[in-house]
């Protein structure tokens, strides 16, 4: 019984939050990695692109609600996703045409593109804050919980319970669907393969008749879809706050590089690696050990590797270790 309680405890405090957070990072990291693989720069404006997409989703959600349209027990925001995606695609293509294309044609160094993406970051930052403000916005509606901890306890008769928020389940399921479609696209369709080919060997792709303009457009479209979905899922799960999106960019970068920059599957795993180490290292295992160990061995301290204050610092530290020892990421595999 104690053993079961211990497992449930971990499930509730590590596995469920880890899967949710990992999904959010994974979606973000795949976007960053696609931009890096095809357009060849680290896009510092990506966090704010997520914020922009989410903002449009929030505004559209408000509009839908004002029309009396909701999505039953699911959040209305899911219905509003297409609006957010369309707006983000348009925005991305606009910035590509007005800003990034010039440097791509000039074959500028990656550092210059990073600097330029910081300029875009500032602009998006301003747009989002001017339109919707810097404060918290909660736009989650529909059912809050799939299962409450108390219900779980009653059902099983255990001391510990698993609480499952509907946003958590939605996040994981949406991520699975999105990533399945994406990987099918990249690996099985002609367009997806041509994107990978372009990313792998630009000159040869040109010699094979692959049109770079189209590849760039596909990439921005896919990236915008991913950014909007990731941002919306994060906003549903926590709340929408522009600054939090900037902050999230850093663990997303970490996940991208851990997975091997330019490698979408690696980015997917990288998201979960970062999420689980962050949560696993900041969780206090005292209660867990109390269940498992005999009384005389029970720990007196919290048994926590590092305080939750350093949550982000962990992902940064992992990243730095990876950068030093495995700069190409810890996963071997196909690069986009």
């Amino acid at each position: 019984m104690d053993f079961l309680n211990a497992i449930i405890l971990l499930g509730n405090y590590i596995i469920v939050p880890g899967l949710t957070y990992g999904s959010q990072l994974a979606l973000g990291a795949i976007g960053v990695t696609l931009i890096y693989g095809v357009l060849r720069f680290a896009n510092f404006a990506y966090g704010d692109l997520m914020a922009f997409g989410t903002m449009i989703v929030i505004l559209s959600t408000g509009y839908l609600q004002s029309l009396g349209i909701t999505f039953g027990f699911l959040p209305t925001a899911l219905l509003a996703l297409p609006m957010g995606i369309i707006a983000t695609v348009i925005l991305s293509l606009f910035f590509d045409k007005t800003v990034f294309k010039y440097y791509r044609d000039m074959k500028s160094e990656p550092v210059i593109l990073i600097v330029v993406s910081i300029g875009v970051m500032f602009i998006l930052n301003a747009i989002v804050r001017i339109v919707i403000g810097p404060g918290d916005v909660i736009f989650m509606d529909g059912a809050r919980f799939i299962m409450k901890a108390s219900e779980f306890k009653k059902m099983t008769g255990l001391n510990e319970g698993i609480a499952l928020k509907s946003t958590q389940l939605i996040t994981v399921i949406t991520t699975i669907i999105t990533c399945s479609i994406l990987f099918y696209f990249l690996n099985k369709t002609k367009t997806g393969k041509s994107m990978r080919a372009y990313s792998d060997n630009e000159d040869l792709a040109l010699l094979s008749g692959i049109d770079p303009t189209k590849i760039v457009i596909y990439t921005w479209v896919i990236v915008s879809i991913l950014a909007t979905i990731a941002g919306t899922l994060y906003g549903l799960d926590k709340s929408f706050k522009p600054f939090a999106y900037w902050n999230n960019l850093l663990p997303i970068f970490a996940a991208t590089i851990v997975g091997g920059i330019g490698n979408p599957l690696g980015a997917f795993y990288g998201g979960f690696v970062i999420a689980f180490t962050e949560i696993g290292l900041t969780y206090a295992y005292k209660k867990f050990l109390v269940y498992l160990l005999p009384e005389q061995l029970e720990p007196s301290s919290l048994v926590q590797y590092i305080s939750t204050d350093y949550k982000f610092a962990i992902s940064f530290a992992i990243l730095i270790v990876v950068l030093i020892y495995r700069p190409n990421g810890i996963f071997k595999g196909k690069v986009i």
């Binding site: 600097v115 301003a126 747009i127 810097p134 850093l250 350093y310 982000f312 990243l319």
Partner: protein, 455 residues
Amino acid sequence: MRNNLDIKLAFGVMALLLIMVGFVQSWGVALAILNLCLISAVMSMGVNIQWGYSGLINFGVMGFLAIGGLATIVVSVPPVNEAWAAGGFGVILSGLILFVLIASIFYVHRKFQSKYKNYLLFLLVISVIPMMKLAAGPSISAIESIDAATSGFLGGFDMPIILSWFVGAIFAALVAFIIGKVCLDLRSDYLAIATLLISGIIVSYVKHEEWLTRGVKNVTGLKRPVPFEVDLQNSDWFVNFIGFLFKGRLSKASDLDEKIILLNELVMTSSSIFVKLCFSVIFLIVLITILVFSEKALRSPWGRMMRAIRDNEDAAKAMGKNVVKRHLHIFMIGSAIIGFSGAMLVTYDGLFTPASYQPLRYTFIIWVMVLLGGTGNNYGAILGAFVVWFIWIESAPFALFVINALMSEVDNTNQLKIHLIDSIPYFRYLMMGLGLLVVMRYRPKGLLPEKIINN
């Protein structure tokens, strides 16, 4: 020649703008802008030395600024004796343990030969945090529990705060040494991300280690290298001086009471201006000193070598230059200057607020200054700092003016107008972004481009 003219003209325009602010808004505002321009100029020179001189991309500016700020606490705040008694020993012990651990990590990394080397290294690295916790944990909670609302930290060494500027530089250089050892051979875009993330770690340390910095509770009432306004207002010489300065205006007062009220007012406003002026003088001295040294360095054989390395790393390597070592040096020097300016900034503010360190404001704006001003040109970096800071501060009043002008017909209760006026602080981001993009596109070398130096 043409370049020289540009510099004079540019700085002339800048001075004129500041004087305009003095007349239109107030001299206090103008001086406040000037002082932060001067501090920012020191920061941007630090970044310029790294990026402009040798092409190192350091997105960790925020971290080095925070380290400089930390130095002001450690140096100038009076020690909290009860805290030292309660936990001083434990903290010092843990410091020693940390030193030994870091040294042994370096030793194992450098000298150890075994197939288990990496495992040992890994064990050592992950053991740092539990060891520190074990050694310092109880002491830290003891320190933090002493008078938590007003103190709850160790305090510092009660020394003059100007000393902390130098200490801040040394701290920053030491941290830069460690970071540089680990990261400098990374590819440029990875280095950018790595330094950004490391500065995040530094700031979360400063923010959460309350025994050292009081964390989000802030440290206020720091010392100053210049007099406090209150002391000036109560000192005879200053009151007499102001009386002398404004003799004409005072003599117009009809009676004694009015005269005293007027004098009081004048003393109040002038004292704050006087203090700001004192700061300006000190900052100007710092700026000019650093400028002179870095210009000299740029023209020395050392500077020539640095440019050679930047422009063609492989050729420099082939000629036997130790590129990694040079990069480490320049990373340390630039970071030291950034640390110095971080201490200056905290001194000027008079308080240390760890939560205020955010990459947008403390890393990327500084970068905008350098890129906008002119990479590789110290005058450019300084000009960039002035221009960007001026825009940063003045874009809010400017945006307000524009909104009011465009919507003068619109009622003041109009939702859109209220909303826009509420969002005025964010127009500065828009200005920064647009400014950066325009400069990168049409003057990629900045307003004052790097000069070709023939030596």
